[in-house]
Amino acid sequence: MFSRRVFMKNGGVALLSLGFAPAFLARTVEAAGAVRRKILITVFQRGAVDGLNMVVPFGEREYYSARPSIAVPRPTDPEGALDLDGFFGLHPRLAPFKPLWDARQLAIVHASGSPDGTRSHFDAQDYMESATPGVKSTQDGWLNRYLHAREHADATPFRAVALASQLPRSLQGLEPALAIGQIGQFGIRAGQATDMLQASFESQYAAAADKVLGRTGGEAFDAVKMLKSADPAKYQPENGAEYPRSPYGDALRQIAQLVKADVGLEVAFAEAGGWDTHVNQGAAVGQLAGRLDDFSRGIAALVRDLGDRMADIVVLTMSEFGRAVAENGNRGTDHGHGNAMFIIGGQNVRGGKVYGRWPGLAREQRYDGRDLAVTTDFRSVFAEVVRGHLGVADTKTIFPGFTEPQKLGFIA
């Protein structure tokens, strides 16, 4: 009943008082009493973040010898990594994550990645989003296949939303998904004639004999009104949350808005770029540090803003591959293999632990003699979230051709 009450408080009354109650919303309200839908928020770090400087294996001598100018110092140093378990530490600019770790709301899977060895951004992102590494012809993304496996009558147009100008590969497929750059811009834009033209288009689509276009058009206009009532311009984050002022921070803030508006959100997508640090990467400070600052403050603000609702929400982060163990000649890092992923929130997440087998960084332990080896297939992480958090027991259609090994246990 929690969800229903919030809906009534935040938007429903206002809508009803305007004499407007979209059909899908009515369904949501009815359903709210019965099912509290779980939400998954994915964050893609496009460009291959350096996982070794993000979650630092400060207990490895090799880490320091391979990275003379860009290693993050040990926790004993004032600028050093934030100790997690005596072996791994967070980059100091990930400090906003530390309270989440301490509260066991944040889990890490290290040395995770793709069984495919490509070092092309394009191929690796494609494989990660289709979740069929090595198979290029897969047309749909894994998040869309999840939506399909979970098809239900109460789906709303806001079921799957990417806060991006383009629908990402992971959300493409049979099930409808929205790409919205700015939720305040979602609607008909015709200056002074907006209301009149919107009403005209709406009546055209409402009367269309064309069932497919008629239904979709109807939902589009319902959605427009819904958002207008939620009044995105006036949104105030709660609990003192402060989102970073970046496109990525904006995206997360708008995801929080959609969650709170109870418009039926189940999967959200945001992305952060700027990770391709071939030159002058920096260490505790510098380029990568700046990006990690934005990254972690965004997620920490989201978690704070959403408060108790986080019990039903998991934030999952990913990046197409990691970076080489050794720094290059430009004080940067080149394309590598294994990486680290974060899992945050969710009632059942068993945080405060780094999961996955650590392969070591000695030359003979590396992939191709140069990169962090992958000991956990990224699909294992996805699958565990889909099963443990989203509650889909059979993940075969979501991860075709993948046999899930024993679960890592980051979700109870």
């Binding site: 070092r119 276009l213 979709t216």
Partner: protein, 550 residues
Amino acid sequence: MKALARIGLVALLAASTVAATPSTSPVPSNPDDKTILHVLNRIGFGARPGDVERVRQIGLSAYIEQQLHPERIRDEQMAARLAGFETLNKSSRDIAQNYYLPAQQARQRAQLAKKNAPPAAAGSGQPDAAQQPRTPEEMQFARKMREPLMELSEQKIIRAAYSERQLEEVMTDFWFNHFNVFAGKGQTREYLTEYEREAIRAHVLGKFRDLLEATAKSPAMLFYLDNWQSVDPNGPHPANGEMFGGRVFGTPGRNGRIGARFPMPIPQRNPNQNPNAKQAKRGLNENYGRELMELHTLGVDGGYTQEDVVDVARAFTGWTMNQPRQGGSFRFEPRFHDPREKVVLGRRIKAGGGESDGEQVLDILAAHPSTARFISTKLARRFVSDTPPPALVERAAQRFRETKGDIREVVKTIITSPEFFAADAYRAKVKTPFEFIVSSIRATGTDVTDATPLVQSVRQLGMPLYMCQPPTGYADRADAWVNTGALLNRMNFALQLVGGRMRGIEPGTATVGAVLANDISPATAETIAKATDPKQVAALTLGSPEFQRR
């Protein structure tokens, strides 16, 4: 412009006397507006004001026949519209050396200058090198680097909107999408202009086998599906092939063991990769072999096995290119070619065939009945409906087999069939974003002198040109394009277009009669009647549910 159209009309009328239609043809001899509009929507990108009347005068059957022979259609105004573009006829080498390389060199110079610069301050949120402010020199070259792809995208829109050879444009769009390559994958974009011009456009109504080989040997495809770096793991072999006398299976390589790594320089790997990165291990790459069968020829259920994928990939080892970073061309490199025997779909390809191995594979695939069916299904889906009638697909596939893959004949079978003119094919297709935008330009008689805003619009509607990532190409089914966000974007595009707010675009206006043959719902008619000016009429027409279909 009018005069030119009239000249074209005379030429068309002259041709129509040649192509007399037998009375048994399913092509109506006395078609109504809806039927003519249907044809214009399917074998072209929709009607311009006056087109329906023009086609009626020419005769529907003659018009179709004319479109099947684009070389017979005069299209002078196209040359004038494309005159301002400088890269469309350039070679890949020219484009690589004069547009891409200078930008790379400028970037390298700038990076070298930054190399010793101190790292940025903590928490500054400073983005990485790629996003840092660029030097004026870098900016200038970066702008120039974007020209070839932008010009290519603009010409695609301009040709589709204004060419008299409408079917040729439809087919160019269809085949490019069928043999899709992605401009975002490394150097692929440097080869795109030549790829579309010479591998695709030159063969769109020709023989399928020629089209297939042109794409197989195109640097764009070699690059995009990685075949250029697919090599025999047992190589390298002597260049003159003297060792290949049938005893090669299991023959030790030059350094004395089978499966040895290459001791010699091989083509540079992924250009996305930093040049400082060490070379990774190398060997057979199955990407092209797999997609060639799954997407280009047989179809996913076409009856091939994983063993076939491997042997096809082996046959294509050594199909690589010269100087991949400098606009080089196709080259067969015997040192990287697997010389042993291959078996593809039960057919033996003898050892030592060299470059001809790949050609034999193309022969086998092009002649395979699964290919005839797969290609016919996709063409029927493009021209008739998302779920094309099986009987039509079967007749088209039969024509494919009879004519050894003559595309013109297969297309003709489809667009002159009873199924094509059947009532349930009418408005059965939802337009793709590209089709929607181009048909909007045509319907409104809009004059486009700068198509760059339209390139942006197609992207905003979710179909960025030359930027479809997977090798499947864009979907040709309604469900891929109908969703709430996309529909609103289409209505907003209609408003934007007729509002005259786009640079270089002089909008005309649409009348319902011309654009939709007056075939609209009472609700649509009512909203249009209530519009207060011609721009609103046009916007409400282009944004209507009726106009989203073709």
